[in-house]
Symmetry: C3
Subunit: 341 residues, 3 copies
Amino acid sequence: MTRTLSDLAQFLEADFEGDGEQIISGVAGLENGEPGHLVFVENEKARLLAEKSRASAVILPLEAPGVGKPALRVKNPRLAFARVAGLFAPDHLEGEGVHPTAILADDVQIGSGVVIHPQVVVEKGAIIEDNVKIGAQVFIGKNCKIGENTRIYPGARILADTIIGRRVLIQSGAVLGSEGFGFVQEEEAHLRMPQLGRVIIEDDVEIGANTVIDRGALGPTKIGQGSKIDSKVIISHNVSLGKHCLVVSQSGIAGSSKIGDRVKLGGQVGITDHVEIGDDIMIGAKSGVSKDLLEPGIYFGIPAVPARKAFRLQGGIRSIEQLRDRLKKLEARIKILEKKE
Amino acid sequence: MTRTLSDLAQFLEADFEGDGEQIISGVAGLENGEPGHLVFVENEKARLLAEKSRASAVILPLEAPGVGKPALRVKNPRLAFARVAGLFAPDHLEGEGVHPTAILADDVQIGSGVVIHPQVVVEKGAIIEDNVKIGAQVFIGKNCKIGENTRIYPGARILADTIIGRRVLIQSGAVLGSEGFGFVQEEEAHLRMPQLGRVIIEDDVEIGANTVIDRGALGPTKIGQGSKIDSKVIISHNVSLGKHCLVVSQSGIAGSSKIGDRVKLGGQVGITDHVEIGDDIMIGAKSGVSKDLLEPGIYFGIPAVPARKAFRLQGGIRSIEQLRDRLKKLEARIKILEKKE
Amino acid sequence: MTRTLSDLAQFLEADFEGDGEQIISGVAGLENGEPGHLVFVENEKARLLAEKSRASAVILPLEAPGVGKPALRVKNPRLAFARVAGLFAPDHLEGEGVHPTAILADDVQIGSGVVIHPQVVVEKGAIIEDNVKIGAQVFIGKNCKIGENTRIYPGARILADTIIGRRVLIQSGAVLGSEGFGFVQEEEAHLRMPQLGRVIIEDDVEIGANTVIDRGALGPTKIGQGSKIDSKVIISHNVSLGKHCLVVSQSGIAGSSKIGDRVKLGGQVGITDHVEIGDDIMIGAKSGVSKDLLEPGIYFGIPAVPARKAFRLQGGIRSIEQLRDRLKKLEARIKILEKKE
């Protein structure tokens, strides 16, 4: 597939300069652009690289000097680049209709334009809305609902009763609707507390590879609209994650915790159960949250504290040796004073 | 399915008060109980909520005041609730017999009442005991043995030679019997040490979604009776985990470590290889254990130390600034004394 | 299968002493060796155990005293043992040809000696070289290339465009080629940055169970020759991992970071994005790396610092209480001096 630069300008509602008939056959990074490629420039350093790049055209900020190539002019070059890249991105789930080796229960409702790849299992009562694409070897349990234009990569498991919104991406090996870690102690044994809730995924959410989202114990586990969850994350039973959150790989949120909107968790963060994280909070990688954090801002550490305080504590640790030296000197000086008495 | 309150009283061997003919159609949390639902009360706060709940009946502690609804009276309301909830829990693996798309080797032994869902593979020499239920797309390798009433959720992988006891639950995406991280260095290369052992899972164990349990290198990796392992945990080769342990999500136990009975690991705990953890030890979330811990008690930190000591160390860090201030004042006071000489 | 001791001596190019006709039917650890087994001895403690072992033969260092059993004499007994164990290791992927339930696109190229187990899906354009063995329920996407003698365990997912070298082992539940966590913020929403790169796995690499390796955003994500990655690791988009590295379970390397050769990461290590780790660096378990580490050596801590410094910082924390005591005494002594004025 190719596009002309002027086509792309129209697509982005942007101005262009130079040859509008320049053929664009793909996008690339500044270091590996080839003829036919479109690259993007966000700052002066990138602009200088773009001048030397073999790429044929460039997306430039509105006010930046040109780089001697045909250019698209936009306010946010990275965003424009993401949009154009989307045009050239291959569809890893392309296909047509329902593959004969897929096993669908009799009463499954399938919308128009649905693609179901080989060896998929869809159990009874499931609803697959229009234009959903389901990769090979996916499992969709009883009474699940998969919203329009949602895409599910090979080998994801959507267990019974899960509700998934529109334009969601679920990656390979993700498990939605597993049974959370709820037990009641009976003498030394642990009796399972049945997990009777479900998982609800709102529109425009992404769930990374091998991530696990437990069903609720009684109510739902809920992922808010537009939130993006990376790979290998665990979201436990009855968690509520707000809208437009980012949760980086290998983080975990324990049972019933309530996370606000636009929250960002770095990698390998742990949040204990039954805490509340307010809106607009960012928690640094590897932090451990053991109590409510409500004030917007950046937190880190184990336990997580406001960033400024965390830096002070780390600085304190690094200063201990120096404190010891000062203390030693004082002890010597006092000894001298005492002797003089 | 519905039950009367008096039926449930009989099931729990409990007394009831109020209308024994009250129909119970399900269980619920205190906040979302609806007519027909049974809720439970553990403390006075919950009791006040239960009074206002729309639920039709309540499980109460033996001595608590009533809440104006039909009630079951038990010693441990949470435990009783878990048992009743189990009656109402849907069977996500319901089905009948062996699905025609399942591929079973000729010599596989299948007990009575076994359910095998679509696209399961069972290799030669495997034994599936009575009433086992195996979800879609599960893999069971050569010579595995799956004990009575065990349940395996869609997409779990039980690799060759694994022995699983009775009433075990294996969740989606779990891998049992993978090859552990054993290598021998040969110049700069790493030669694989063949992993010739197996995984042994005793009765009443649960293994969470996407958890990995490596086979032993020579002997077995062993999970003791009644232990519950959450999602995304790694149990490495030759680990021995005792009975009735709880291992929370994203924890890891490295090779050959020996964990006692009734041990509890919080989330994201790491235990290094070849250490011993005694019985009745609890290790706090995110801790790192690098040496034997034998004395029963609570430990946390990196490295993990007894909780009291860990708290003191954390308090110490928070006090550094104050120490610095006191030191500064002393320096000034000494200077004054020295000048007076 | 059995071998005589003299066969094994020839295989290892080693000398033997005692009965060369001793039949060896397997290998074992020192504690559980049985008649017919071969064990190995690395040190005096092991040598004493070997003397009492029921095993029939032993691999001994060149200079060690004998143990009263037929013996193989080698420079590196552990390495020799790994090689012999490999002879006795069962082939978990044994089989013949392509199983009829495997779904292969018409244009897939299959080498000689390839084994493909049931319910595998291989999409169009894929190349499977000679002697590759693919376990049940594996997915191989469009245009993947799988090099000679590579082995893929049941339920791994190799997504489109992935290039895998020779003699690679990919374990169950691993996902190669997932879409990395790249987004562009547009007001409060996060727009996906299309991930157009691929994964390249060089020869002799191992990838553990449920590990995730994201495709590159524009260029490749690359795993260097001979590197071994344990289970549940995440390698993010555009990471470059060098040759002969070891990455232990539950570690994560964030986007675009560049790791040198012979690097070892302990368990649960986190490396932030866009950093560089030089050759011959070892990073202790649970460490967090937030900036470049270029000097060969051992590092640990959050943030990771050279081991010697990390130990000093930990010692400093443990000394705070003592510093406080010394400070208190000084304060008392100064008070006395001040009063005497």
